[in-house]
């Protein structure tokens, strides 16, 4: 860690001009491969992103123990974009053009990813993005190791239909792009499955919404129409705690109206008394409670690295794990860290995931993931009740009007992130 | 109503105002002739300052007429409009622009266009400069013209404020306790300055200091509990038993 701090100080000094530069020369050793870490360490997103920064450092540490990559040690370059979206772009530029990193692991929110995209395109570098997102994007320089909507939402709905016989749906979300898109996809999907518009209720709330009385009551009302009802929740972040508290207090049990959430993981549950919530569901590609050797080893190593047995693990961490290992494997296979070569090699790379299976990077730069459905337990963990075969991330949803004709394939000769199969043209962009 | 107000400079009739049930001004009537200087006395809480507030538009009366120049209804205007009609006011506590130099204080008060855009493109003319110089001489602060107003003594601030009033070229000056906190010498000088001013403008002086009022030698109005208790020369009102009772207690 201190090594990183020293580096930061030096960058600073270099800009300042003269004061320290002469005394701390020669930091850019050539026998390392630099890995950029672009996660907020301060500001609103620090709470989530700091964990991912530590995850990357942990993975680098492990890799270096195994001898590094291509015979060179990996060296982390950590910057703090401070939850400030424009600053993400600036820090990305700094990492690529100044620190000359070979790859960047980073971003959490879609805004931050959107903000750095032009930089990665312009300077031609690689970004691994480890968080579930709304899809509708495929860029040559980005690898999406989090779930696309079809890797969370649709299997979850399938599960509820089959296992719970749900016929009536509440789509409740925070008013931002991920829930909007996911709900649009789900709405189209449900209608395609013969659910009538009357049986779908859509509700949006602001960030950090804390008074859920009316909405929970509405859900209850909507649920008393003689048909089995479920809530699909894309409620984000802090708003979940008061939402679940209100559910518990108004006596909505999972047996009556189950809630399946896509943004509630082990960390979010840590702030709630989960006893009244037993049976509510979450859909992810990873749960800490997964019973696999890979997972046990990962958790064990993580606890040792972070020196805290209580730290939970979560889905974006697994996505970081997959992305990191895929990159290592591709670099080893290509024998170089050259961006273009690595991008081409990455497609088709297969690495183990933490749930005992494998993840493959597809030509659309998304990966295959199994979808797990977990039920909340009274100890704040999830009990996995369903698991699908690996699903390929669908970047352009088949259920959205604007994107159903689009596909992405970054292999030659197509090399296009938004190829329109109807017009036969590669959409916008260059 | 205008009949009675005809020919007067300031006309208050049956004015009342109350704050949270407390009647600060109670059916007050007062008439000031053009060119007249009037002293207003009264114990604390008699409504002197509130009366000033009403005249200058800071406080709206609940009832009654306030007319300027026999016809202009002051209750409908705000402070700036009333000031531009030609009513100047000096506060009890000297209020000058402390971050500005003495000269700028006068320059800001100088009669002229008051609009924001006019101010943005304003250039000081030679005539204005002469006028400023003259005023500075009148208030005896010529040698301190570049000093920040904050650094003036209390008495000097009082004078500066009077100077600013004069710069406005008002037709009526309302002056609240000009002698408060002044030395005897300063008080005497202030009295003579006011008498000088009264030659060209109407003046209303609110004052506690009886020697000062006596030095002014003008008609006196005694306020008590928001209404006029007595009016006349200082000697006459001093002899008024009601006034004696109010001042000496019952």
């Amino acid at each position: 860690m201190s090594q990183i701090f020293d580096r930061r100080r030096m960058t600073l000094a270099a800009v300042l001009g003269a004061l320290l530069a002469s005394t701390m020369a020669g930091y850019a050793a050539d026998d390392t491969i630099k890995v950029g870490v672009l996660h907020s360490l301060s500001g609103t997103m620090a709470i989530s992103e700091t964990t991912l920064k530590d995850t990357v450092l942990y993975l680098i540490d492990e890799q270096n123990k195994k001898g590094g990559v291509l015979g060179k040690k990996l060296e982390a370059v950590v910057v703090d974009p401070a939850s400030n979206w424009p600053l993400f772009a600036e820090k990305a530029r700094e990492l690529i053009s100044q620190d000359k990193v070979s790859v960047v692991f980073g971003c959490w929110t879609s805004v931050s990813r959107k903000s750095v995209l032009p930089v990665f395109k312009e300077l031609n570098s690689i970004l691994f993005y480890p968080v579930q997102y709304e899809g509708e994007e495929s860029e040559r320089n980005v690898f999406y190791t989090g779930a696309a909507p079809n890797q969370q939402a649709i299997p979850a709905v399938d599960y509820l239909m089959k296992e719970e016989g749900v016929q009536r749906w509440v789509l409740a979300g925070t008013d931002y792009v991920y829930p909007r898109t996911t709900n649009k996809i789900l709405e189209a999907y449900l209608k395609a499955k013969g659910v009538s518009a009357d049986d779908i209720m859509i509700n949006y709330t602001p960030f950090g919404h804390s008074d859920w009385q009316s909405i929970v009551a509405d859900i209850k009302k909507f649920g008393s129409a003689g048909k089995k009802t479920a809530v699909v929740s894309t409620i984000n972040g802090d708003a979940n705690v008061p939402f679940y508290k209100e559910l518990g207090n108004q006596g909505i049990k999972a047996e009556d109206i189950p809630v399946v959430a896509f943004s509630v993981g082990e960390e979010e549950l840590a702030g709630i008394d989960t006893k009244p919530l037993v049976g509510h569901l979450a859909a992810w590609n990873y749960f800490e409670s997964i019973d696999s050797e890979a997972n046990a080893a990962f958790i064990d190593g993580w606890h040792k690295f972070i020196k805290n047995d209580k730290r939970t693990t979560n889905d974006p961490m697994e996505a970081t794990y997959i992305g990191f290992n895929a990159w290592v494997k591709a670099v080893e296979a290509a024998g170089t860290t050259n961006t273009d070569t690595v991008i081409d090699t990455l497609v088709g790379t297969t690495v183990p995931n933490l749930s005992g299976g494998y993840a493959t990077i597809m030509p659309n730069h998304h990966i295959t993931k199994p979808v797990l459905i977990g039920e909340i337990q009274d100890n704040g963990q999830f009990d996995i009740v369903s698991r699908t075969a690996p699903v390929v991330g669908d970047e352009w949803s088949d259920y959205l009007e604007g994107s159903k004709d689009l596909i992405a394939d970054w292999r030659k000769p197509l090399s296009c992130g938004n190829f329109n199969v109807v017009t036969g043209k590669c959409g916008g962009g260059s | 109503m205008t009949d009675k107000a005809e020919g007067s400079l300031l006309y208050l009739d049956n004015v009342s105002v109350s704050f949270d049930g407390f009647r600060a001004i109670n059916r007050l009537s007062l008439v000031l002739e053009p060119g007249e200087m009037r002293a207003i006395i009264g114990p604390n809480g008699a409504g002197k300052t509130t009366m000033m507030d009403i005249i200058t538009g800071k406080t709206r009366p609940d009832a009654g007429d306030v007319l300027f120049d026999g016809s202009v209804d002051l209750t409908r205007l705000d402070e700036a409009a009333i000031a531009n009609l030609g009513i100047g006011r000096k506060f009890q506590k000297p209020t000058v622009f402390e971050s500005h130099s003495v000269e700028d204080n006068i320059a800001l008060a100088l009669k002229g266009r008051r609009g924001a855009f006019a101010a943005l493109f304003h250039r000081r003319s030679a005539i204005e400069q002469d006028r400023i110089d003259a005023l500075l001489a009148t208030i005896r602060l010529s040698d301190k013209r570049d000093l920040l107003a904050a650094r003036l003594s209390h008495g000097q601030k009082q004078w500066l404020e009077i100077g600013m009033l004069l710069a406005q070229e008002p037709r009526l000056l309302l002056i609240d306790e000009p002698a408060a906190g002044m030395t005897d010498a300063e008080t005497a000088e202030t009295a003579s300055l006011l008498k000088e001013i009264a030659k060209t403008q109407s003046v209303v002086v609110v004052e506690h200091d009886m020697t000062f009022v006596r030095a002014l030698g003008v008609k006196v109005t005694v306020l008590h509990e928001g209404s006029v208790l007595a009016e006349g020369s200082l000697d006459a009102v001093s002899a008024n038993p009601k006034v004696i009772e109010v001042y000496l207690g019952r």
């Binding site: 703090d80 424009p86 032009p118 931002y176 043209k425 916008g428 | 100047g88 800001l108």
Partner: protein
Amino acid sequence: MSFTCPPTNSPFAASISLVDLVWGYCGILSLGHGAFFALGGYAMGMYLMRQIGTRGVYADPVLPDFMVFLNWKELPWFWQGFDMAWYAFLMVVLVPGVIAFLFGWLSFRSRVTGVYLSIITQALTYALLLAFFRNDMGFGGNNGLTDFKDILGFPIQAPGTRAVLFAASALMLALGFVVASAVVRSKLGKVLVAIRDAESRTGFIGYRVEHYKLFVWTLSAVMAGIAGALYVPQVGIINPSEFDPAASIEAVIWVAVGGRGTLIGPLIGAVAVNFGKTWFTGVLPEVWLYALGTLFVVVTLFLPRGIVGLWGRVVTRRAAPAKEVDGSGRQAGEAA
């Protein structure tokens, strides 16, 4: 570059000197100036979105990408016209200007001053924050507007364009400085200081205080809007976080640190605070908030005139009356 202030923050810094125009010179503490900055930025962002044309991922000639995937069928009325640069640039000035004018006209006319005004400016920017977060508003929700391609026909990422934009920002900064100092030196500037020192006295000598406040308020909002418009093409994104009240408050501290009531102060403050931020968040991220918090307290308690004031005291050794600055606070305090 580690020292991140110059490229992206210079327009912001420019707008900050305008915060000082209303606070340092006029005694109006706006906790919502970021709103005008963001509104200007959005107007520019809308123009840049329309310039993308068919190069968006869905290749829709009219609708921006985020509208396509949320199934919008046609362009909302308030997006019309933004394909024309002149119209968009007009809106950059008009939108913040008109909103500031209306807000100021209502507030100053009803004598909402001091802390009340500060609180409702905060409420205003908070309301706008919530509004722009709403996807139904048609401004791209929390993702905002991004993925810009070119500006006035020049590719936005090209080094040449970036250099020109940077130069434009520097020019804007200089221009803002010139305008602000012209305003401050004029008689109008003196009236503003007069209002700050003794608002009622200014009214009683015939200045219509609310007009002056409204003028400088609207002017500063317009310039904040222009600054926002220059900021957006450089950072390539505009989203509702620019409306966050905390961002506006943080900007105020730049002014306080540099020294309010001076024009150079806010610039020094902006540079100093951002430098500190870059340094701290790099070295000890968790210490940054302590440092920033302490800065707020220390500056208000011990450095009422900021760095500039401190410098002035050191250089001239003249016992500057600290009261002058207090005047603003005390005056505004009349309302409380």
